[in-house]
């Protein structure tokens, strides 16, 4: 790719191709096109200020010391801070629940392992609770007591780490991490109170931008992840932690372990848009196709 035998215009075009796009920042006079006058003015201008201005540090040549900001506290003397907790009052919180506490809840029959466990089931125990007004967005299942954990559960939490996922899957259980938006959290906290209000079950909103990556990750068992990738990650984790992955297909509770919610669904088996009447034991389902379409998407 040599430039031999090319004309000057071809060379110029070739060069132009590798140069950045022409813009106001690039446009300027050619080098040495502008004549800079170095000498002092002559003649009638000989008694002027010679470019040093009138009064001040410029004329007196006594410039400020380096870093002086004319009365401001200089940047190197200002209060040093590293804002690790910037915006902490806006961040999502996940109050913890340890695997030991979960085991205890199961053994004291506060939780029923024959049914999937979700945020509503945890709140219905009456022992564990969370406050959405403090931006608590659900449960963080922690690894304390992971070695002693011996329950087979289908659990849905909002935050879980790798050892927790391993502890649950080692015992033949299933774990999903899922997100609930602010309005849904209040409903999950007390579903019966919500049904009493006589409102239609809303659809669940998708996670915010900074949580998308977590909830679409198969390694986090996110509810928006590809199920095939999740099953692959289950195998990967079993090999990493050195346990034999129990086959869910052969499990007698296969149906229960496969129960999952739709990303738009709040409760297992109940679709958004339905109205539940606890008193009359009835469910009101909308017939209008437009309303149905709204709650589906």
């Amino acid at each position: 790719m040599s430039g031999i035998g090319r004309t000057a215009s071809e060379k110029a075009l070739l060069m132009l191709r590798s140069l950045p796009r022409l813009c106001m920042q690039n446009v300027g006079p050619n080098p040495h096109a502008k004549k800079v006058r170095n000498s002092r003015h002559r003649g009638q201008h000989g008694g002027d200020k010679h470019g040093c201005g009138n009064k001040g540090s410029g004329q007196r040549q006594n410039w400020m010391r380096l870093g002086y900001e004319t009365g401001n506290t200089p940047f190197y003397l200002r209060f040093p801070h590293e804002p690790y907790y910037k915006g902490h009052h806006l961040r999502r919180q996940y109050p913890p629940l340890s695997l030991m506490q979960l085991q205890k809840m199961i053994e004291t029959d506060r939780l029923d392992t024959s049914k999937p466990i979700d945020l509503a089931a945890l709140c219905n125990t009456g022992i564990w609770k969370f406050t959405p007004e403090l931006l608590q967005y659900g449960v963080n299942l922690t690894a304390e007591g992971a070695n002693e954990f011996k329950a087979k559960v289908n659990i849905e939490v909002q935050w879980a780490t790798e050892p927790v996922i391993a502890a649950i899957e080692r015992n033949g259980g299933v774990i999903t991490t899922s997100f609930y938006d602010f309005d849904s959290l209040w409903i999950m906290r007390d579903p019966v109170k919500f049904f009493m209000r006589g409102e239609a079950i809303p659809r669940r909103m998708l996670p915010p931008e900074d949580a998308i990556l977590f909830y679409t990750g198969a390694e986090n068992r996110g509810y928006l992840a590809d199920p095939e990738k999740v099953s692959w990650e289950r195998l990967v984790l079993s090999q990493k932690y050195g346990y034999e992955l129990p086959k869910i297909e052969d499990d007698p509770e296969y149906e229960m372990l496969c129960e999952r919610k739709d990303p738009r669904q709040l409760f297992y088996g109940l679709e958004p848009g339905w109205v539940v009447n606890i008193k009359d034991k009835t469910i009101l389902k909308p017939l209008d196709p437009e309303v149905k379409e709204f709650y589906k998407t």
Binding site: Q103, T125, G269, I278, K281, L284
Partner: protein, 176 residues
């Protein structure tokens, strides 16, 4: 004066009722339940009512039990919880579990961690016998006299330090 005003009003032409669509202001009701019906019920979206449909079992899941369930007896317990095995009458005293089936031993930390009190509650029977036994056990463990307060009326013993785990282990060993 007043009569003149009234007369002047009576002379005025009748006020025409304004167009409601133009003059009505938006009203925000505090909740869906307290809001008025907007238009005829026939104009509302159609729905179907199902009496106890197959999906009702999912609703029943969401209804919490009215009382704390009594734990079923299991062969093995993997958590730190064990059921009470001691029956009343086995010892001269009896300690009832809390409503959540937990040991009624509590630790209160106040005065920025300086004051630590360990409470044992729900004691019935000979509370003094229990106080003597527990106190002897703790004095031997800590090699000093652990401060103790016995409240016979409310069936409560208070220790003046953090002896929570020592008391809990001792009580569990006794079957409480």
């Amino acid at each position: 004066m007043l009569t003149r005003i009234v007369r002047s009003f009576s002379l005025l032409p009748k006020i025409i009722t304004p167009n409601l669509e133009i003059c009505s202001t938006q009203k925000r009701y505090s909740s869906f339940g307290s809001s008025k019906l907007q238009g005829e019920p026939e104009e509302y979206t159609k729905f179907e009512i199902f009496k106890e449909p197959p999906e009702w079992k999912f609703v029943e899941r969401l209804i919490p039990p009215p009382t704390v369930p009594v734990p079923k007896v299991r062969d093995v317990y993997h958590s730190d919880w064990v059921p009470q095995t001691a029956k009343p009458g086995k010892h001269p005293y009896f300690i009832e579990r809390t409503r959540n089936h937990q040991l009624p031993v509590f630790l209160s930390i106040t005065k920025r961690g300086l004051r630590r009190l360990t409470y044992v509650r729900h004691i019935s029977g000979d509370i003094w016998a229990l106080a003597d036994e527990l106190s002897a056990h703790l004095n031997k463990l800590h090699k000093r006299n652990v401060g103790i307060q016995v409240d016979e009326v409310s069936g409560k013993i208070v220790f003046r330090t953090d002896v929570y785990s020592d008391v809990a282990v001792w009580l569990l060993k006794k079957g409480f």
